[in-house]
Amino acid sequence: MAMRRRLMTLSATILAIGLAATTVLAVKPEGNRATRENGRVIYERSCLFCHGAEGKGDGPAGWFIGRYEAPHPRDFTSEGFKLRSTESGSLPTDQDLFRTVTRGIPGYMPSFAGLTETERWQVIAYVKSFNPAFQTETPAPLLLGGPAPLASPTSIETGRALYVRFECQACHGIDGRGDGPVSEAGDLKDASGLRIFATDLTRPLSFKNGSSPQDLVRTLMTGLDGTPMPSYAAQLTGKEDEAWYLAQYLLSLSSGSFP
């Protein structure tokens, strides 16, 4: 993953200085009819079984993903999107969708890195055609603030204080195990009214939105639409360091390695 990110940074740099990057990298196809048609073919082979022929999240295998509980496959036609870099309630950027298709969602959606980069862009163009809001809204990524400060005992302690002040323990539990009183009471529901459980923060490999410090800061800023996880953007704006400290504290809760 780090390799990929480095690759993307590199490609952005190459584009920025105006070199002929097209010879090196797959080009993101234009969002035209032909692209969507190519995307449809891929969608019907790879995505339909969970997300359904009309993108309603009701594919023939979709019910089994969470059975009687959340999550169920995303309904592309009317729901919001969980995994974004944009503000609460906004649509995701193309890059957000690309990240989800490429990484998958731990536990629930496999990585489709087996599709070529062009194929992934094509299927994204098709997925966006399910929701007309993609034509009227222009999602913009939130700024995640400056570079990540290095983790230190002080920064982790500050992060822990923020965890308590933001009452993360209400859902995620005082030890971060996802066993907070609101979650245990069964009060948490997703947008479809299905029971949803708070994430066990001691198991970073199961984090749906990724487990790097950048991923955690993004989740704190954007929230996970369709779930009870709110955006803390308004509380963290201008105090970006606090977001990093909180992320560092969250990662300090697990003994396992993380990417």
């Binding site: 891929i42 339909l48 022929a53």
Partner: protein, 456 residues
Amino acid sequence: MSQRSITLGILMAVAATIASAFVHPEAQAIPPFARKYNVNCTACHTAPPILNPFGQRFLENGYQLPGTEDGGIIGKKKLGDVTLDDVTNFVGFRMVGNVTRSWSFKQQNPPGAAAGVVQNKTEFTFPDAFTMFTAGTLTKNVGFMVELGHDVEGGTTAVERGFVTFNNIGYHDLAHVRVGRYDPSAFYSYVTIRQQLNDVVESTTSGCTPFTPCGLNRAGLAPSAFAAKFYGLYQRDGTAISPFASSLFNSGGETGVDIHGRPFGDWFLYQVGVLNGANEGFGDSNKGKDIYAMLRFDYAKSNNFSANISGFVYRGYSNAKVQSQDDVNWNRYGLSARATYKMVDIYAAFAVDKIDKTPTAVAGLFDSTATGLTIGADTYVTNKTLISLRYDNLDAGGMLDQRKSATFVGLQVKQFLRTNIAIFARNDFNVRKSEGSDTAARNLRNAFFSGVDIVF
């Protein structure tokens, strides 16, 4: 159901409830493909080992995600070697079996017992079957599967299946080839090796001699549609073929070559294959190859609904012998269908077995036609409780003085303690009137099982 069975059943249910109360609902442990792709079992299975449509396409595509040819993506480390870290992405184990069994018979051939006496027998056992399988992709469009099964009671270990797949030959989904020892019915609507109610093998008298009827103590409990169905049929080496054993197209493992694909889009799947043929002794060159063809129609679009129907023709050439040691051509024609809507999964299979020409030595003594019908249903009543039902009717063929038709109904409750650990309680009962010792195939009145199913 005997009093003892009922008591055991209640105990199981209580144990399940108590045990499940201590398990965190998010607990997830995952077998090899799930590990490789970092998803739960539910991505591919309705209820393991039964596949949902996504899992079926994954299987069809040679263990590659549907629509992709991603077989190579985990082998690209360093020099393309697979390291020890990857082993868990390839190897899985399943331990399944009964820990208690309780039988209720009308006389189970005990010496000196009066005809018609009802007997109960309860035994504690070790989980019967331990399976180790390794499967995955070697590189893009090349996959493999090896499954070793150890039967704890019988003390035998054997390669149940072991084959290589070559996928997407020509263009995507045109042709996928399997070579080796595989289950021909892998793409059938009702797959032999994917069932909730595991086969319970029959009990036979020991010391059977070739080409003589092998005495049966108790009937086997296995899907009738897949069974051999004939009494008095022998392998070419003279071993008696169990009328309950899954066989021919529905065998759990046969050696041959098989091609399948979906060249006409998603609606149809074709499958053709050639097998050494059931029951051939090694190096028996007098025998012709068996051939089969299957066509399947799928409807799987939206509304959490899918349905499919499939039919096959299996032609055997000298693939069995009768008592007189004459070769016969044993064929099967089958039809199967399945429909899944949310938590409900219903499937059925019907098969007609026909022996081409009855050898003159057994003419008039041998019924050359037999049929089997199996209907099954699984449903999740809660996120952790799966109820399965199976009905079997065997209209047996073969030697008229031996054959016995049978009808059984089985009901199983499976409680998942974790996504990969389940305990179950099951009861099968004889729908027909149970009979005494001379009809061992029908002497079983009721059978109760409780056990575990662990996959990791």
